[in-house]
């Protein structure tokens, strides 16, 4: 398969990259690993005139996990995340998301910034990152801004990143004590598959056996973007973890008005599965991830 023609630029610094994006704007696309971008270009879904590669900019590949916060460069590979003990011991669900992505060959090249930027509703990295409350830094020539991932995804393939911006860092706060997070996904095969449904749940308890203080549930594949199951989260606050409680939370996502913009879960019938099955699986994974997250929280 042939790629369309384009000009290729390799800025050496973030500033240079921002300069280029300011200059070329929508005629250019940022490339890191390229595992998703190249597929879209080969399928003729995208034909940017220019590619601006940020893959060689050292500061964009770093991992910094000082106590209290994880700072990830966007070019940190999915394979490295999956294998990172540093990330795993505090933010285990992020590693679980990374392990589920594609195949080992794709994981060697794919990057966390790329997976966020490509904004596929079934993406493996957004659920856990959103569940941990991650924020992204968007840098441009004239400055930078920080955006919560909750407000980052606008639609399939569409993000908050402006034409002259580069996603330059991912920030994840360390979870408070008595927290737990779990990511689970359902696909047909055991590798290389696009998810049918994926969910991440994050909880913080008041104490070791205590009621739930904070809850974030993120659903993938059941809407145009990854979304917080806000209605379900509300059912958990102030309650002690139990199977019955998780059932209630799961059930809450179905109680929303179907089609409503604010609904927790708006799956569609498509060639991967029916809306009905996706809804049932979303409920199932909410139950299972809440169970796992609460178990982790209670062990601390």
């Amino acid at each position: 398969m042939l790629l369309p023609r384009f000009d290729f630029h390799e800025p050496a610094t973030l500033a240079e990259a921002c300069e280029m994006m300011a200059h070329y704007g929508a005629k250019a696309k940022v490339i890191a690993g390229g595992t998703d971008l190249m597929v879209n270009m080969k399928k003729k879904l995208l034909s940017p005139e220019r590619l601006v590669s940020i893959a060689r900019i050292p500061e964009l590949k770093k991992l910094d996990s000082s106590p209290g916060m994880l700072k990830l460069g966007p070019c940190f590979t999915i394979a490295n995340i999956a294998a990172s003990e540093e990330i795993g011991k505090t933010w285990g669900a992020i590693c679980a998301g990374a392990r589920s992505l594609g195949s080992p060959l794709v994981r060697s090249r794919a990057t966390v910034g790329g997976n966020l930027g490509t904004a596929r509703p079934a993406g493996d990295m957004p659920p856990s990152l959103m569940a941990y409350g991650a924020r992204v830094v968007l840098t441009k020539k004239s400055g930078q801004r920080v955006v919560s991932l909750d407000n980052f995804f606008r639609g399939p393939g569409l993000t908050e990143i402006a034409a002259d911006e580069v996603l330059s860092e991912i920030l994840v706060d360390a979870p408070p004590p008595y927290s737990g997070c779990s990511y689970m996904n359902i696909s047909l095969r055991s590798a290389c598959d696009c998810n049918i449904v994926n969910v991440a749940s994050f909880v913080t308890l008041e104490g070791p056996g205590g009621p739930i203080k904070t809850a974030r549930i993120v659903l993938g594949c059941v809407g145009p973007t990854h979304r917080r199951a806000v209605t379900a989260e509300k059912t958990l606050i102030g309650q002690k973890p139990s199977a019955a409680l998780f059932d209630t939370a799961a059930g809450a996502i179905a109680a929303c008005v179907p089609g409503a913009e604010t609904a927790d879960c708006i799956p569609i019938d498509d060639f991967r599965g029916s809306a009905d099955y996706k809804m049932e699986m979303a409920k199932l994974l909410i139950r299972r991830t809440l169970g796992a997250a609460c178990s982790e929280a209670m062990k601390q």
Partner: protein, 785 residues
């Protein structure tokens, strides 16, 4: 155990080194000076008249050397079976599916060729699109091919015995339906070819094909060339599984472009085009009504099947027969009625894929037999053992089983899987299932009516050095046939395997129908054995003359001449040999036995080049009824399989834990290759059972024409597979060998279906068994209770 020197052992493949080091050359690895790149223009519409094709802009583009349409290609019809030649190289009046072929371009590079394609203007007039059997057969539906009313490619109506009378004697009659989905071959190497028309008018086509012979004949016929001026060569091939067993548009268009430009032209399918070409497994809609006595004796089967065949016939006329005929076994069944309809639709054409028409039928019927066993209170193993065919039986549709190790296969998997301890005894969510199957060892008749030999072979002994060179037009496509034939030749000649070299897959070497219908080991194997024995006979005759020793008391073993009634004085021969080889450091000593190396040299000096030839054609097979030919074979492989699985009831996801397969291959020539083919068959069956289906949108476009969304098993999806070889010594096979390559897939899908029922008590009558389908079946069952 076995008294063979070379065969019946595990031998490393003769092509293993080339493939392991990246030295093996496949078509796309080839390059020729001045080579052009070709691309096909394919229809974006599923059904449309072609009003006009304007290639002028494309032809004018710098770098474009030829643009061809039906105008240049002609409209000679071809296909697989002459009774159903319904394809032309390019569409001339209408297109019949998305991906149908309209034109081709040859240019100096791929980018220019692709650009030229975009400049070709085709005026289409859309026609109603028929995607389902119901739509295609509906009253007043447009005809996809004018000659075929109701869009029925072929119809079969057969009855053996008297089914209605037999039903009256049955204690239980069961009716179930079953449907699979269209599958794709998904071989990792897409179709590829390189054609070179030289200035003497000889055409050489290098192609990733399963049958150089069928491609040669089709190219000659369609392009109007004498067969003798067309040479088809198969380099290394990245598998076929059926879709590559007949000539395709790529090959014909590439040859045409080379003829018109006088340059070599290479053309490769992108993966999406592999899906649009298809020629893979049909979608079958089966309905089985089976009658049994309460002691489990199967008395009668009334079977109806509709096949969604796509836009062209391909192997479809054989498929619709196989779907019925292969249920004549592996059980005794005296009364069988079959009504089959293969229907045209505006989808890519379906053809023959591993197991051909038998796989979906096997799946649905073996599941039904399990249901019958349950109702009768019988263990499914016992039901099968009770009814199975034994060697010497003839089925109601005249298929002869000269060897049939079904009992050994069933017992082997029953014991090898710990069936008795597990059936109905595993915890809820875990299950075990069994199924059986059988398949032809080569179709009894070629796809074109002919008295041709099905395979010829030549063994030429090197004039010096003790090597044997084997030439065959057979096709090594990954199944291991090159190694198998070297082993057969070595065994028949009496020399070590290392002394045999093979060249194959070239129409210059003879006639061979190719790698399809699981035929090569038995059929080509016979020809190879005969050729090797012919060469051996000539060598022994010369030595016999020279030593005045009776030839019937001589043999060749392990590379040495064997004198059964006392060793004669060979010193005269040896002295002459050593005189000829002054300077060699490994000449035979004075006392050693007479080596094949010496004997073949002596034979050359006496008679000139020693060439042995062999040929094979099956005997007249089958009954006299219409369609009797399809399903006939000189022999049948058979198998039994047990699958163990677990089900996550909350998601419906099935995990296959273990597979145990026993296959009767008559005699394993290369044990490693037999096991390997069994394991590969099982992986294709598992994929078809759980993941695979080609999906279309309402316009007839393929939604999942890539290997991400069309899901074949990965290494994490396949369980450990225990492969057990059963050997029944087939009298019609060379050294007793018969097939394994296709038959092994037969029991896989039903074993999984039956294991699912054992695990969670649900039956699924539609493939694939996706988590959603299983989940819904479980939910439905719960709601019923």
């Amino acid at each position: 155990m076995s008294n063979f020197e070379v065969i019946n052992k595990s031998a490393p493949r003769v092509d293993g080194y080339a493939k392991a080091t990246g030295r093996a050359i496949y078509v796309d690895d080839m390059k020729m000076p001045g080579m052009l790149y070709g691309v096909m223009l394919q229809s974006p519409l599923a059904h449309a008249l072609i009003r006009n094709i304007d290639t002028s802009a494309a032809a004018r583009l710098p770098g474009v050397k030829a643009v061809v349409t039906a105008k240049e290609a002609g409209t000679v019809k071809y296909g697989v079976s002459p009774a159903r030649y319904d394809e032309t190289v390019f569409c001339y009046d209408k297109v019949r599916h998305v991906g149908d072929n309209v034109a081709a371009v040859a240019a100096v590079d791929l980018e220019t060729a692709m650009h030229a394609l975009s400049l070709i203007k085709v005026d289409y007039q859309e026609l109603p699109v028929l995607l389902t059997i119901e739509e295609a057969m509906a009253e007043g539906a447009p005809l996809i091919h004018e000659e075929y009313p109701r869009n029925v490619t072929a119809e079969v109506h057969q009855e053996f015995g008297d089914v209605q009378a037999a039903f009256k004697e049955c204690d239980l009659i069961k009716t179930t339906s079953f449907v699979n989905k269209r599958q794709d071959g998904a071989f990792i190497e897409p179709q590829s070819c390189l054609a070179h028309y030289d200035h003497f008018g000889n055409l050489t086509l290098y192609s990733s094909t399963q049958s150089v012979h069928y491609v040669q004949r089709t190219v000659a016929m369609v392009l109007g060339m004498p067969v003798g001026r067309v040479r088809v060569v198969k380099p290394y091939v990245g598998a076929g599984f059926g879709p590559k067993a007949a000539a395709n548009h790529l090959e014909l268009a590439t040859c045409l472009l080379s003829i018109r430009t006088g340059k070599p032209v290479k053309m490769i399918f992108e993966r999406e085009q592999v899906f649009m070409h298809s020629r893979g497994r049909h979608q079958f809609f089966h309905k089985f009504t089976t009658g049994v006595k309460k002691d489990g004796t199967i008395l009668a089967l009334d079977h109806e099947c509709y096949l969604n065949g796509g836009a062209y016939s391909s192997f479809g006329i054989a498929t619709v027969y196989y779907a019925g005929s292969l249920l004549g076994g592996p059980y005794r069944l005296a009364n069988m009625k079959y009504d089959g309809y293969r229907v045209y639709t505006n989808l890519p054409a379906c053809g023959a894929q591993r197991g051909h028409g038998g796989v979906a039928a096997r799946a649905g019927w073996e599941q039904q037999l399990d249901m019958i066993a349950e109702e009768l209170g019988m263990d499914p193993v016992e039901l099968r053992l009770k009814n199975m065919l034994v060697a010497g039986d003839v089925t109601c549709n005249d298929l002869n089983t000269s060897s049939f190790g079904m009992k050994e296969c069933i017992e082997a998997v029953r014991d090898g899987s710990d069936w008795k301890a597990k059936k109905s005894k595993l915890p809820r969510g875990k299950g075990i299932g069994i199924a059986c199957g059988f398949f032809v060892s080569g179709a009894g008749y070629p796809i074109y009516r002919s008295d041709t030999f099905h395979g010829t072979a030549t063994v030429k002994l090197a004039e010096d050095g003790g090597s044997a060179l084997l030439f065959s037009a057979s096709c090594e496509i990954g199944q291991g046939s090159d190694t198998t034939f070297c082993m057969i030749a070595a065994e028949a000649l009496g020399i070590p395997l290392e002394s045999v070299r093979i060249q194959s897959g070239d129409t210059d070497f003879g006639v061979d129908l190719g790698a399809y219908s699981s035929r090569q080991t038995l059929m080509t194997g016979h020809a190879v054995k005969e050729a090797a024995e012919d060469a051996k006979r000539q060598v022994l005759e010369v030595i016999s003359e020279k030593l005045n020793y009776p030839v019937q008391d001589m043999d060749i073993k392990k590379g040495f001449i064997v004198f059964k009634k006392g060793k004669p004085d060979i010193s005269y021969l040896r002295t002459n040999y050593i005189k000829e080889h002054r300077g060699w450091s490994d000449n035979p000593g004075a006392e050693g036995d007479l080596s094949f190396r010496e004997a073949s040299r002596i034979a050359f000096l006496s008679r000139g080049t020693i060439v042995g030839t062999g040929k094979y054609k099956p005997p007249e097979l089958g009954g006299k009824f219409k369609g009797a030919a399809v399903g006939t074979s000189p022999a049948y492989g058979c198998s039994a399989q047990v699958v163990e699985l677990s089900v996550d009831e909350d998601t419906g996801k099935i995990t296959i834990e273990k597979m145990t397969d026993a296959h009767d291959c008559g005699l394993a020539i290369n044990r490693t290759s037999v096991e390997a083919q069994m394991q590969g068959s099982l992986s294709m069956g598992l994929g078809e059972a759980l993941f695979e289906e080609v999906k279309f949108d309402p316009q007839g476009r393929i939604i999942n024409a890539d290997l991400a969304e069309y899901k074949i098993p990965t290494s994490l999806d396949m369980p450990p597979v225990k492969a057990i070889i059963v050997e029944s010594n087939e009298p019609a096979g060379p050294f007793g060998a018969k097939e394994v390559g296709e038959g092994a897939i037969m029991p896989t899908i039903p074993a999984i279906l039956n294991a699912l029922y054992d695990a969670v008590g649900v039956r699924v009558f539609e493939l694939p068994m996706t988590p959603e389908r299983v989940y819904n079946a479980i939910r439905e069952l719960k709601e019923k209770k």
